[in-house]
Symmetry: D2
Subunit: 166 residues, 4 copies
């Protein structure tokens, strides 16, 4: 019986990096900042920023790479994982990352595929890099793409309460 849960709301410090594992799995890595404000002894507002590394896989990795960029605000739910690796001196080093199970995109809510583009949220074209600046190739996002608010992970219509037979 154990629980390993992380929940973050923050902004990307850079565009997501998308790579592929040796077995071909899409993997995206994102740096996300969370900020805590507090009042110090002199009564001044202070802010301290914490940086997190989030790794996501599969279709979600591709969605993140396609729709998120530096400055995007996201909600991330995942678990903590510490990886061991070796530095150039052959010493064991450890890196703690958040394995993201769910990433929700918090910018530009209400802006679906038919909405006018306004400087953000359009599909970034990782897979067609030659179009990356031309902004003409926007596509409708897939059904469960992260453009959702922080309610359930799945669309309401799939599991609506309207028709609960109890």
């Amino acid at each position: 019986m154990s629980l390993n849960k992380v929940m973050l709301i923050g902004r990307l410090g850079a565009d997501p990096e998308l790579k592929y594992s040796q077995s071909g799995t899409p993997v995206a890595r994102m740096r996300i900042a969370t900020s805590e404000t507090y009042t110090d002894r002199e009564g001044n507002r202070q802010e301290s920023t914490e940086w997190h590394t989030v790794v996501v896989f599969q279709r979600q990795a591709e969605n993140c790479a396609n729709y998120l960029s530096k400055g995007s605000m996201v909600y991330v739910e995942g678990s903590l994982q510490t990886r061991q690796w070796q530095d150039q001196q052959g010493q064991n080093r450890y890196t703690t990352e958040i394995k993201g199970q769910r990433v929700q995109f918090l910018d530009r809510k209400g802006d679906g595929p038919g909405a006018p583009a306004q400087g953000g949220g359009e599909r970034r074209s990782f897979q067609q890099p030659q179009q990356s600046q031309q902004r003409g190739g926007r596509q409708a996002p897939p059904a469960d793409d992260g453009f959702d608010d922080l309610g359930p992970a799945f669309p309401s219509e799939v599991s609506g309460m309207d028709d609960v037979p109890f």
Copy 2:
């Protein structure tokens, strides 16, 4: 920007009820108890129990009906939803339920399909009620059936950190 999140760990007060919505969607309803212990002013341990109604849908509803029973311990992640309905006097009444997005089964961990049955955890036969007492019809649970610990919602192998290409 909003968040609507509930996390519970508790035990079922009764077997799950499985019904089907008019559109044929499987829906399971479970009553789950959480208990809080605290020390009163006299220094005595006190316990207060809270009862929650959890509703799950689709395949997860069937898994709950098949594998959970009165007394089972579960982890539930979901969202709050309040339904309006009318009582016999035609008055509006409200019922708050937890729409479960994830239910993890916390009993009998380590007991996979090949493990010996020991008084719990076997498949209950909602869909073959005539076998419901004979216990002979056990089946291997499906791949993502809730018999998992409280880590990520998805199997590690699907998104292992071993092969992160960064």
Copy 3:
């Protein structure tokens, strides 16, 4: 072993109501909306809103009454509690509420006591109702008043990592 946890981010539908229990405990009640957006089958953005009742106690109740108002955005952490009561017909009715253990104020962060007032965030004067429209009586909020981001519940300086002796 049980867990009963609710986390909400949403906006108040009305000003908080502050009352006092028979034993004199300050109790604030707030209605909070969370909204979920999703894409329906026709590909249109839909929004569904859920309303929650949050009850907080003691100093936090007073802080909420003093600093929050209709439209304020808050983060609430608490637990689910269902109260039984009797309607006029003497029938048992049940109301589920969130007992708030922590309420963070998400509007106007960075606006401490020395910051200029700009249409929100000033202290509402529940305890001096005759001044409630004149807005001149602003006070410095107390040290742990909810004007904090969604990090730890307690100020960093109390438990900073800078000086961890390991």
Copy 4:
């Protein structure tokens, strides 16, 4: 607007280490294991363990040192923090820890100060090391000591719903 939240349930891999910062603040460090079980492709149960470092401060640090030991099960709520430090080669290294805001003790619930000792849960005597094996010096734990279930962080009686004036 940001959120930085970690929730763990797991067991201590060793007794807590209690130290004092230069300013005299008690600081406890604990290693906590969470285990995830999953079914591999061959249908076998697999378990993978993740180790976390939790740091707590002040009175909670002392409570952890006094009441927890190797093997104790705890619920931890906190936030992620990455500290920078320098190794012997003068290189920057980073360590990610969980700053615990709340630690609940999950073993032996219902065993208050008047309950018979049975091999666990008694006060460990960090501050009176000469008594550390004799087990005679048990003390009543303080009011909010972590011997509580996973409900609200504060005792029910302080903020009971029985007397809500709405």
